[in-house]
Amino acid sequence: MDKIIEGKAYVLGNNVDTDQIIPAEHLVYSLDDVEESKIYGHYALSGVPVKEAGLPEGNIPFIEQINNTSEFNIIIGGSNFGCGSSREHAPFALQKAGVKAIIAESYARIFYRNAVDGGFVLPLEADEKLINKISTGTELQIDLENYTLTDLSNKSTFKLLSPGDVLPIINAGGLFKFARASGLIA
């Protein structure tokens, strides 16, 4: 895993549920077929109500009309990010759209597990509420040595929390890689 992640912020509110991340009608495509699975990127975050899409202004599309990837690759979320269903298609869709990391105030359990165990995106938590301090489009840098987030536009820095117990799974790149490395499976 890279120790430095840089990218543009896309800011969302609280309780961004899995239907907003990938609406249920799109859960029919293959996740394994390289071409077909790109559709998940195209529809990532397409369920977010327009006024909540890209805070603080809103009305900023995450994906430009015909694209399958986004110019934004760091999501800043509020509390209970990823609540709702168990669909692993949600962190998968964000990964397909090019998202590298999410920094939220808190996560719903199954979404968090799926992001970590599937190795799709890095779910991090900040020490404070960031959705009012960072605007969509801001260039950010995440430092995973020191667990800091820097707003490159004004150099302000925020403290991130260590993932704690699940760090070995994150570092391995997912549950299967972790289980192989630690001899749990062949």
Binding site: D19, E25, S79, S86, R87, E88, H89, I110, I185
Partner: protein, 431 residues
Amino acid sequence: MNKTITEKILAKAAGKESVTPGENIWLNVDLLMTHDVCGPPTIQIWKNEFGENATIWDKDKLAVFPDHYIFTENKQANRNVDILRDFAKEYNLPHYYDVGSERYKGVCHIALAEEGFNIPGTVLFGTDSHTCTSGAFGLFSTGVGNTDAAFILGTGKIWEKVPQSIKLTFNGKMPEYLMAKDLILKVIGDLGTDGGTYKSLEFDGEAIFSLEMHERMTLTNMAIEVGAMNGIIAVDEITEAYLKPRISKTFESFQSDPNAEYSNKYEYSIKDIEPLVAKPHSPDNINTVHNVQGTQLTKCYIGSCTGGKISDFQAVAKILLGQQVKTPTFIVPATTQIAKQFETETYKGITLFDIFKHSGCAIGPASCAACLGGPSDTIGRASDGEVVISTTNRNYPGRMGSKKSEVYLASPLTVAASAINGKITDPREYL
């Protein structure tokens, strides 16, 4: 001992004397459940990871229910059912319930109960967030994603962090106008959609143990709506009576110790609770039916793992008998068994089927249907600008279809009363 029922079950599944909240443990899984949305990617990950020689850890501990996108022309959705069918055939699965066959059941969480998969004292994982429903039978059950399910499919094991427990005690007797749905909406309103994250919800009290099993399942079903890992109700005579014709295995019934430790305890008096709704667009946006009555509706929906059980339809029939609905009203039984019961169960001598037909409801085939929107041809799906009242479990933007629709969640009694008036109505007007 000072352990909760959840801690005792997890200790048993981990092969330990005891476990403590916060501890990470590996569990031996007793049952894995999957369906047509998450089954195909789970199978794919399992094949990719375990390779040519991938084996299912224990075929008898795998239950596969196509239920989400069943009655649709959508080719990719149908392809997913084909993948399950081929997988079941290739591995000769004993517990596959195919669409179009006599074995087809419908909504997985209710089918698990009907088919005797909910064994007290065991641990059950499923690729669906409402897997917590099974906890009504005194077992640990929770939802996982495809990767975790693929890991279980190959190894029979999964890691979990032992949750702290929240105890919810309901004192008093249930009046005719209240249902389990009102009780759980009250809890969701009090805890918020993340108030139970990584915790266990344990239901207790006279009112809880007066409920029959389908109503108890409404409580544990919506534990996930506060972010909880599981919801659980200890076994009593009512549980045993439900299980007796369905399972032959012996099982272990656990109870929480009197001095078990809880992160929070909530005590409710039933007499203080009245019919409730969750307003758009969050399950914790709770108000009384009284305060929102008169809200005009375009659709009423009665179905799903939460509100499409036989007890839900018996309640609806009490209100709809001899009445006409003013708003398009959709009746979608969770399972094929419930659909059959529409022909045999009666209220005042009339079958539920006749009551629903004569009142003008549309009756759909058993499946998850519009609870989660689904493909564009799904029965009851919410369109732009609609205002829906539903017995389902979530009302986040777009959950039932269009993100430009509004969904109110309520009990089957409240939805039925609202259907007659075409606007949100307190069920006490019709009881």
